[in-house]
């Protein structure tokens, strides 16, 4: 999502927000660490740099982003994968720009991990707490805030949460969690 406006088009065929039968994905069972590194590698291979526009990236992958009409009930986000390079991410009209960025990265997690880049059709909404959602969250964090570049940025910014949030275009909460996950706060206090 760019720093300006949700430029996505109004869609008549929005992804169904409910996971059904065969379209409900299964968890990979991979470890958090593995998914974290995988997401970092994928973002690198796609040429994604911290803070880049995710809409452009999704388009480059063949996908599209739509915003759900505000008059109807909806989830924070959902993805329908129909095939390789053929998927739709649907965002809530109520959520903030930073939340949307995390949601897009989360849905890309489903695309890479659970649909295996379109080889398996899936349709899933961002809701509840289960292994499939955990994996997508781990992917989102690893994608938006790759551990290697984050460690470097952490030193450059002197651990300043706001500078880091501005650089990676994620919420301060995500930054704080990342610092904790990577034990960076602990390292700083030792210096």
């Amino acid at each position: 999502m760019s720093a300006s406006i949700r430029k996505v088009t109004r869609g008549s065929h929005l992804a169904s927000p409910v996971s059904k039968g065969d379209l409900a994905p299964k968890a990979t069972g991979c470890s958090r660490d593995y998914i974290d590194h995988l997401a970092g590698d994928i973002s690198k291979k796609l040429g994604y740099k911290p803070g880049d526009d995710l809409e452009i990236l999704v388009k480059a992958l063949g996908g599209e982003i739509k915003v759900h009409p505000w008059q109807e009930p909806c989830h924070d986000g959902s993805i329908e994968v129909r095939g390789f390079g053929d998927f739709t991410i649907c965002l809530s009209p109520f959520t903030s720009e930073l939340r949307d960025r995390f949601t897009i990265a989360h849905e890309l997690g489903h695309y890479f991990l659970h649909s295996l880049v379109g080889s398996k059709k899936i349709n899933i909404a961002r809701e509840g707490s289960n292994p499939v959602e955990w994996e997508a969250n781990w992917f989102a964090t690893g994608f938006l805030v790759p551990s290697s570049s984050f460690k470097k940025a952490f030193d450059e910014c002197g651990g300043d949460i706001w500078q880091l949030a501005a650089r990676f275009k994620v919420s301060s909460q995500t930054i704080q969690l990342r610092i904790k996950e990577l034990n960076l706060g602990l390292q700083t206090s030792h210096h």
Binding site: W70, F94, R99, D160
Partner: protein
């Protein structure tokens, strides 16, 4: 929210140290209609929006501040702290260290307003709401008061009360998505500093219950972004309206002269803003200020139980005062805390 009843000498000293605070308010326009328009009230979409807005706007403001500080290479520039939410309104506060910072904060705040306006109201599924902002100054401890809050109650360490806080909240009524309304003393500060923000003055309004209902100048910063391609028609319409309605142009120094004359005529609680220990230069302030601070000190000593700073085993001041029950505040004027105030 619970106020502290017991404070330390250090805390009292901090309360008495003259501070000029800038308050920044963002309010949601049309929120009532939005809550009632939803055909699917069970989904509580409006609740999703408000939670999202409440949690994200402080982040947006802080991140834009971080970007701005980096871009302008500013030193010791703090992020405005979230003070309180009042219905659909969020208010932030920050202590100004330099006069020029007022303009910097206003620039960042306008960017933050523009960003939420773009995100929520200009996309493919725009929400039937909008945003408006207001900004005002209040000096402490004379005229307005900061009241310490018990630890852990809120993000802010203080609650703020006073006539200029009331003026600020009244100004919000005259703000709109286009007009970021600023108080007259803030306008004077911005104009004196030659801020890049151009100020508009189009009307005077009586602010209910404050300043004895005297008319107050509605001065505002334009939030229309002429460079925003997504909002070109609205920008064109606004400029055309300006040509029609307010064709008479004025120079910034004319508006500054008016603001200063207004402040002088009204008198207390308005005053020409000053910042103690301003890195640029101290601003002019009343010669009676030191006496006013002394009066405030006496009043605060009556209101609060003021105890000595307790030194813990680690050598740091502790805010827990276990022995305060038996302790009595000094009454002698000689023991009053000295606050250095330069007379001019």
């Amino acid at each position: 929210m619970a106020f502290k009843q017991v404070i330390t000498e250090s805390e009292l000293g901090d309360l008495l140290r003259p501070k000029l605070r800038l308050f920044l308010s963002v309010d949601v326009v049309g929120s009532t209609a939005f809550k009632h328009q939803s055909q699917y009230t069970d989904s509580q979409g409006w609740l999703d929006f408000f939670v999202s807005f409440y949690t994200s706007f402080p982040d947006i403001l802080a991140e834009l501040t971080a970007d701005y500080v980096k871009e302008k290479n500013l030193n010791s520039f703090e992020v405005p702290t979230f003070w309180k939410a009042l219905g659909d309104e969020l208010v932030f506060a920050v202590v100004l260290k330099r006069r020029v910072d007022a303009g910097h904060y206003l620039c960042v705040f306008r960017q933050a307003l523009r960003r939420v306006v773009r995100h929520y109201t200009m996309g493919s599924q725009p929400l039937p709401i909008n945003f408006k902002g207001a900004a005002w100054l209040a000096g402490f401890p004379v005229g307005n008061a900061a009241i310490p809050i018990l630890d852990g109650e809120q993000k802010s360490d203080y609650d703020y009360v006073g006539p200029l806080i009331d003026v600020g909240f009244r100004l919000g009524k005259y703000a709109s998505p286009r007009k970021l309304v600023v108080s007259v003393d803030l306008a004077a500060l911005l104009l004196k500093e030659g801020s890049n923000l151009s100020l508009c003055f189009t009307e005077k309004q009586s602010l209910k219950g404050v300043l004895k209902d005297r008319e107050y100048p509605i001065i505002w910063v334009d939030c229309i972004d002429d460079d925003d391609q997504n909002n070109e028609p609205a920008a064109r319409r606004c400029r055309a309206e300006d040509d029609l309605l307010h064709s008479k142009q004025y120079q910034p120094n004319q508006l500054l002269k008016y603001c200063l004359a207004y402040i002088e005529e009204i008198g207390k609680p308005l005053r020409v803003p000053f910042i103690e220990n301003d890195e640029q230069a101290p601003l002019v302030r009343s010669t009676a200020f030191e006496d006013e601070v002394a009066e405030v000190e006496q009043r605060l000593r009556k209101i609060f139980q003021v105890g000595p700073d307790v030194v813990t085993s680690s050598g740091t001041n502790s805010e827990t005062l276990p022995s305060l029950e038996k302790w009595k505040p000094p009454t002698s004027k000689k023991k009053r805390l000295k606050v250095k105030v330069k007379k001019q």
